[in-house]
């Protein structure tokens, strides 16, 4: 009887997990067009224990700040988030990210629009860690006007806003070189990109081998940052934006492991209690 019930339980749990996973997979979108083969990278944060690579996130932030930032904002990110636990510039010594000098320096590189408390006029001041990344355009109309009608989307949750967001972003940045098939007509300001829905994108190719223009620098002596190839830059900025979309990933997985172990032990104990209590019913053994 015990084996039968365990078997039934496993079957029920299996059906549940399988059907949910099936649904999850079925909900995934269609693949890219024109024979483009998606590169599926093994990301640092995949798997049960994986989490973001700090050096890669820091390099990724540099790519964002020097390339993406010219058009794309991070709406949901404050500078202080960069110094949060699990963030790219976290420092154990500064539990409060507002005190973190790296974060302070980064924030100060941005101009934030504020109100002069004395006369109510609009002033521009250097950012502080508590500020959010300031918007690049005053409004959507300006964003569209400057960018040929297409508003550059917010990037702070982008990796979550696409199916397999990390692979999507990495491939999108690299797919510009894929040969454009005949029969696709692009209007002005459009570029061919098979990863984009509809294969047409308003964003020009951003990452180019820029000898001497863009180099990864290392703050720590003796550390050799990788060469800033297109692939490397795409992977790094994806790592940074993946963190930005899911900053609690490391905390979540840690809590997950603890919870699963706890629940497993609890289940075993409850199973034993169940067997023990029900054994009272068998006069031969009781």
């Amino acid at each position: 009887m015990a084996f039968k019930t365990v078997r039934n339980l496993i079957i029920a749990g299996g059906i549940a997990a399988a059907s949910l996973t099936g649904i999850a997979i079925a909900a995934g979108g269609s693949g890219p067009a024109d024979g483009y083969k998606m590169i599926h990278k093994h990301w640092h944060w995949s798997g049960v224990t994986g989490s973001y690579d700090v050096a890669a996130m820091q390099r990724g932030y540099n790519v964002y700040a020097q390339v993406c930032r010219s058009c794309h904002n991070l709406d949901h990110l404050a500078f202080r988030h960069l110094g949060d636990k699990g963030g790219p510039f976290y420092d154990e010594y500064y539990k409060n990210p507002n005190d973190n000098p790296l974060v302070k320096n980064i924030a100060a590189e941005y101009e934030v629009i504020d109100v002069n408390p004395e006369d109510g006029s609009e002033v521009s001041r250097p950012g502080i860690p508590a500020d959010y990344f300031p918007p690049i355009y005053r409004n959507n109309a300006e964003a569209a006007y400057v960018n040929n009608g297409a508003v550059p989307p917010d990037l702070s949750v982008m990796v979550k806003a696409r199916n397999n967001g990390a692979d999507y972003m990495y491939n999108l940045l690299l797919a510009y070189s894929h040969p454009q098939p005949e029969g696709i007509t692009l209007s002005t300001g459009q570029y061919y990109n098979p990863v984009m829905e509809g294969s047409k994108i308003a964003m020009p190719p951003q990452l180019q081998p820029q000898e001497g223009v863009f180099e990864y620098q290392s703050d720590t002596e003796g550390q050799n940052p990788p060469e800033a190839t297109i692939e490397q830059m795409a992977a790094d900025v994806t790592e940074f934006l993946a963190w930005s979309a899911d900053p609690k990933l490391a905390v979540r997985k840690e809590a997950g492991l603890m919870s699963m172990v706890y629940l497993l032990i609890l289940s075993v104990l409850l199973w034993l209690s169940y067997k023990r209590i029900w054994r009272r019913l068998k006069p031969s053994e009781g």
């Binding site: 909900a27 997985k253 209590i277 006069p283």
Partner: protein, 425 residues
């Protein structure tokens, strides 16, 4: 089961209370309810569902403290909850994944009821209250999905409220009344939030009635033979409390797996894009638990007919106790109906698959999802309206054990043997 009460107050204070408001007696009687001893794990989902409801209400109330129901701030406030509110990421994910888990458990619970004939006399009212709970659950889930104000929230709300526009004559005004305007907007979001907060308490009240009705009729059981002798039942506590707790722990493991490792797997990526009334997403797809009904909706070309079919798919559940003509509750003893039931479950999955895909796409062998959903819809209704009514009259059921006690003697569980002479019922 109501009737005799075995509770005896042990302390003076308890006696004092018992003479004024016998609430402890009620609880004690509830928890000592004689329960069929042969219940299998399919019967643990009732307890699991209670836990699901509690989880949703607790996390929901906490989220409500941080959420801002305004079209300009709703999306951002959810992001703020996930990033800045202490353990907000946990509350938000638990609530979102919890909705899926709630439906997973409720579907298990319903399929169990369908297979073991739990809807048959004397449990018709119990079943109907259950159907009502399911209906309110669907409404609550739909309203809740609108609140994060992502693209799927907005366009899902637009599509669903659009159904009401298809009602003849009053449709348009009905739709405007529901939306509080001509389109889904701030007024809609506010009333959806208000109702999303209200309905779970209605579910809680209905669950109270559901459990009350259960305690009047007693649980059904896998062989569907009513309790006859004393050895047929065991007190709910401790035998079934401990068993339910074990099942709950296993269920929580599945819950935790999705919560901590695949928190977005059951949702839709588009909902991480802020709602944009000017930009329709390429595929508007409901949450997975609505997919079978979405497929039924799209199985006919006419909008109104589709809506009627979808409503009918749920309405048919309410009258099921009178559609199934068989006196035999459990499908274990219905050799033919059993297989029709398995096919029914299979087609429910197929409908879910159809709901997730584009109707014009090919499913397999040149069969489009549109046709596949038509075939599945046909079977769905045929199962309730044709197969169960007719089969009950012509099927020859297998011989049933005289009592629960009799049935479990074969399994090696040995209660005191007691001869049962009454025929199976």
């Amino acid at each position: 089961m109501s009737g005799h009460s075995t509770y005896e107050p042990k302390w003076a204070a308890a006696r004092w209370m018992d003479q004024r408001l016998p609430i402890v007696r009620m609880g004690a009687d509830f928890i000592m309810m004689p329960t069929p001893r042969n219940l299998n794990y399919w019967w643990t989902f009732g307890g699991i569902l209670l836990l699901c409801l509690v989880i949703q209400i607790v996390t929901g109330v906490i989220l409500g403290m941080h959420y801002v129901a305004h079209v300009d701030h709703a999306f951002d406030s959810v992001q703020r909850i996930r990033r800045d509110v202490p353990y907000g990421w946990l509350m938000q994910s638990t609530h979102a994944v919890g909705a899926s888990m709630f439906f997973l458990a409720v579907y298990m619970h319903m399929f169990r009821g369908l297979y073991y004939g739990s809807y048959k006399a004397p449990r018709e009212v119990l079943w109907i209250i259950g159907c009502l709970i399911y209906l309110v659950m669907m409404a609550t889930a739909f309203l809740g999905y609108t609140l994060p104000w992502g693209q799927m929230s907005f366009w899902g709300a637009t599509v669903i409220t659009g159904f009401f526009g298809a009602v003849p004559v009053v449709g348009e005004s009905l739709q405007q009344w529901l939306l509080g305007g001509y389109a889904v907007d701030n007024a809609t979001l506010n009333r959806f939030y208000s109702l999303h907060y209200l309905l779970p308490f209605i579910i809680a009240a209905l669950s109270g009635l559901h459990v009350w009705a259960l305690h009047v009729t007693g649980s059904s059981n896998p062989i569907g033979v009513s309790n006859k002798v004393k050895t047929d039942t065991l007190p709910f506590h401790p035998y079934f409390t401990v068993k339910d707790m074990f099942a709950v722990a296993v269920f929580l493991m599945i819950f935790a797996f999705f919560l901590f490792y695949l928190p977005d797997a059951l949702g839709h990526a588009d909902n991480y894009i802020k709602a944009d009334p000017l930009k329709t997403p390429p595929h508007i797809v409901p949450e997975w638990y609505f997919l079978p009904f979405y497929a039924i909706l799209r199985a006919v070309p006419d909008k109104l007919a589709g809506i009627l079919l979808m409503i009918g798919a749920i309405a048919v559940l309410f009258v099921l106790p009178w559609l199934d003509t068989s006196k035999v509750r459990s499908m274990r003893f219905r050799p033919i109906a059993r297989w029709f039931f398995f096919i029914f479950v299979f087609f429910c999955f197929i409908l879910g698959w159809c709901g997730a895909e584009t109707p014009d796409d090919e499913a397999f062998l040149g069969l489009s999802f549109y046709r596949l959903s038509q075939i599945s819809t046909l079977y769905y209704f045929a199962y309730f309206l044709v197969i169960l009514p007719i089969l009950g009259l012509i099927e020859d059921p297998k011989e049933r054990p005289a009592s629960i006690t009799q049935s479990i003697l074969d399994y090696g569980d040995k209660p005191e043997p007691e001869k049962v002479l009454a025929p199976a019922e």
